[in-house]
């Protein structure tokens, strides 16, 4: 009588343990989906999409960090349009880049708000095709993608 429920209990325990080990990965998956959705809604680009744009030479890359940081290192071919000196740098940028240009703005990493700020300013100035590469230079450099400076 007491021997029969034991395998059941064991099975139940194993089931609970396996469920609890699966659930974090399930929740991570769910979180990743949410992040992707948020990024899609706010028109932000991930590393793969940014690299695809870089390889196709179809976008103009804009560095939103301070100019002296840009001077030391930046994504290959990127242009400096810093948040701090936007008003001084923008007239030159406007002369060289048509309003229809597809622009990818980045800063250091996801938490730095400079890229979003510059993107907003660009859109205010008439540029419609502006996207933010949220991973920023850190993610780009970690992936070993082309840099210069």
């Amino acid at each position: 009588m007491s021997g029969k429920p034991l395998p059941r209990k064991l099975f139940a325990t194993l089931f609970v343990i396996s469920l609890s080990s699966i659930s974090p990965s399930l929740s991570q998956l769910h979180a990743a989906e949410t992040v992707a959705l948020v990024k899609e809604v706010s028109a932000e680009l991930d590393l793969a999409a940014t690299k695809a744009l870089f390889d196709s030479h179809s976008a103009c890359f804009v560095d939103a960090r301070s100019e002296y940081v840009y001077y030391k290192s930046h994504i290959k071919g990127a242009i400096s349009l810093s948040k701090s000196r936007f008003d001084e740098q923008f007239p030159d940028f406007r002369q060289k880049h048509a309003i229809e240009t597809f622009i990818v703005v980045y800063c250091t990493e996801d938490s730095c708000g400079k890229a979003r700020n510059v993107a907003r300013k660009l859109m205010k100035n008439g540029y419609k095709n502006v996207r933010v590469f949220s991973g920023g230079l850190i993610e780009w450099a970690h992936a070993g993608f082309p840099m210069e400076g």
């Binding site: 301070s66 100019e67 002296y68 001077y71 030391k72 701090s84 000196r85 001084e88």
Partner: protein, 154 residues
Amino acid sequence: MAQNVFPSALITALRLVLGAFFIMSGYEKLLDLKFFGLIIAEYQILPSFLIPAISLLFSLCELLCGTMLFIDLFSRFSSSVMLCMMVIFIAAMINNVMRGLEHDCGCVKFLSQWYGLKEEIGIVPIVRDILFSILLLPIALLGSNRIPWKKDRK
């Protein structure tokens, strides 16, 4: 009285240490003037057309005054010039901190590379520059204004 408080040996030590420090600081700025100019631009105080000239002037001033301090050539004059520069740097940093700007101070890169000291404008570089001003004061007030290779007339 003042001479008793600051014996000539102490003034010589201050002169040599600060002189060597400003030589290194000025030299590293001259090595990459464009970088220093871009940091000055971040202060958003000077018009753009003045920045290349000012960055050259500041770095040359630091290098020359540092050398003059080190070899005891017009120490009083050179320390006074450095004191004025320190006051300008302190005022510019306080101005930028109050405006909420965040950027490197462009002070001494080798200190941040060797000792990991913070280069971003804020309380640390401001206090550091105040300390340098205090150390420069005794030389500006009590140092000599002589030319070392000319013998003093009796």
